[in-house]
């Protein structure tokens, strides 16, 4: 199965290794067009490794990964981004000495052309417009996360991968960031949203996957899931 041309993601039997250690274990995961899929799991469950493997940035991976009918395993990261898959990396990973505008423009340059422009990002995050000429390292954590999100969005992806957007941010700020998700969805962008915060992430998701020690321990829809069941599959035991 290679996945249809309009299917944003189909991962089959994915394994990721660091040396001898297997961080991701036979994961199957799909994202349907327009869907927001939440991936939850404790620290070290393999969520970041999973995203890295999709972007072809894992040291060693096995299995098949298809996006929009393309076999990502045969593509380089720049090709994947150009094909419409963009990552908001864990820890934001801005270029600290570059200005806000420069950071954002890099996203535009490496991505596809599309309807999301610099001006629209500025209209979604007005504070970035004010601080566009400041080096990214001077921004607050929340503002940096806005730049990271904006940088990925400017690549005009069809599938957006978000790794722990709320990490280390105050609840108010997290709220502001999550308020943007409907707007992103309105652009027809499918998403994988990774969080450790189960409540926050299930609130926005159509479906969720719970990772436990590198494997999928539970799949479901937020409305069908019982809190205790999720917690058991989140922490194991």
């Amino acid at each position: 199965m290679s996945g249809a041309d309009d299917e944003p993601l189909r991962v089959e039997k994915l394994n990721v290794y660091y040396g001898q250690f297997r961080a991701v274990h036979d994961i199957d995961l799909t994202v349907a067009a327009g869907e927001i899929v939440s991936v939850i799991g404790a620290n070290g469950a393999g969520k970041t490794s999973f995203l890295k493997a999709i972007m072809q940035q894992a040291d060693r991976a096995e299995g098949s990964i298809h996006a929009f009918g393309l076999n990502l395993r045969t593509m380089s990261t720049p090709q994947i981004v150009a094909a419409g898959v963009a990552l908001v990396p864990e820890g934001r990973r801005l270029f600290p000495s570059l200005t806000v505008a420069e950071n954002l423009r890099i996203g535009w340059e490496i991505g596809r052309r599309g309807s999301i422009t610099l001006d629209r990002i500025y209209s979604w995050f007005p504070v970035l417009a004010e601080r566009r000429d400041q080096p990214a390292r001077r921004l607050s954590g929340g503002q940096q996360q806005m730049v990271a999100l904006g940088r990925a969005l400017l690549a005009n992806p069809r599938l957006l991968l978000c790794d722990e957007i709320s990490l280390g941010l105050a609840p108010v700020v997290v709220g502001q960031l999550y308020d943007i998700l409907p707007k992103i969805r309105a652009e027809g962008i499918s998403m994988i949203v990774i969080e450790q915060d189960v409540v926050r992430s299930l609130a926005v998701a159509d479906r969720f996957y719970c990772f436990l020690e590198g494997a999928v321990s539970l799949v479901g829809r937020p409305q069908d899931a019982n809190r205790d069941v999720i917690m058991r599959h989140y922490f194991g035991g």
Partner: protein
């Protein structure tokens, strides 16, 4: 200060332009890729020999040949990075130093094998003998002025490239955090290669000026590397304009040292470097 010493100092400051041309490429590779290319000086010498052969063959001025060679120099730097250096850049600086060290020895001995140990100097034409008389006191060679001006133009161009263009922003992004760049789909390897291509062009320009200004032989690469290195450290790591000042300081020190005794020329250069290193370890114009 006597007029003669002032004259020597001014001539020395002008040599600083040549040294800055040696140094900007090294500064770029240090700032962007964070490695030191031990073969940097040898590449300048290699380019000088290439210019010698080609300008002899074509009967053209070495400056003209150098301009035509710039695209080739870019490609050479680009592919040197892609095919060789990229394999060893990483956390540890040891492998890069050792590979460029091996390269340095290969270039030196390859040139020795191909051209023999003799000293050469290229002819730049009329520009070499023309001079301007200044303040009714001393003659300033037209050629040193032109080289100094070239250095200013090259540094200004690099400044614009790095800080005013989108490719420059991408190069700086990769310099900031190569792993992050790779993660979001900005290939650090490609940006490094482009940066080394630019370094290659500065090497070609430096070679055209050096080969007309001074004698060269297959073995002088290392001394050019040391001069470039000292100019970079003196100027303040990462500061392109700083390398020009660093080069001027070295040139002045050389000429004033040579005033005392010809054999003091190089020693004075190194000693001033060590002195500044002791007093201002981060150079004269450290970047924040």
């Amino acid at each position: 200060m006597t007029i003669d010493m002032l004259n020597q100092a001014i001539q020395g400051a002008l040599i600083g332009g040549l040294y800055a041309l040696f140094a900007v490429g090294l500064s770029l590779s240090l700032g962007v890729i964070r490695f030191i290319n031990i073969a940097h000086g040898d590449l300048i010498v290699l380019a000088s020999f290439l210019l010698m052969s080609l300008s002899g063959l074509l009967g053209l001025s070495p400056f003209v040949v150098a301009l035509f060679m710039l695209p080739l120099a870019f490609a050479a730097g680009y592919w040197l990075q892609r095919l060789l250096l990229q394999r060893v850049v990483g956390e540890s600086v040891l492998p890069v130093i050792l590979v460029t060290f091996g390269l340095s020895i290969m270039i030196q001995n390859g040139l020795l094998q191909a051209y023999g140990p003799d000293t050469h100097k290229l002819h730049g034409g009329q520009i070499e003998v023309a001079s301007v008389h200044m303040f009714g006191l001393f003659d300033i060679g037209f050629f040193p002025l032109a080289v100094f001006f070239t250095a200013i133009v090259v540094i200004a161009a690099l400044d614009i490239l790095l800080y005013r263009t989108s490719i420059g922003a991408r190069i700086r992004a990769v310099a900031d955090d190569p792993a992050a760049a790779d993660l979001i789909g900005l290939s650090s390897g490609r940006m490094y290669a482009i940066a080394m291509g630019v370094v290659g062009m500065t090497v070609m320009l430096a070679a055209s000026c050096m080969s007309v200004w001074t004698n060269f032989d297959p073995a002088i690469g290392p001394s050019r590397l040391l001069t470039a290195f000292e100019a970079v450290v003196l100027g303040g790591l990462g500061s392109l304009w700083g390398t020009l000042v660093g080069g001027m300081v070295l040139g002045i020190a050389q000429n004033l040292g040579a005033q005392m005794d010809a054999s003091w020329q190089i020693l004075a250069q190194h000693l001033i470097f060590l002195l500044v290193l002791v007093l201002r370890p981060r150079g004269l114009f450290p970047k924040a």
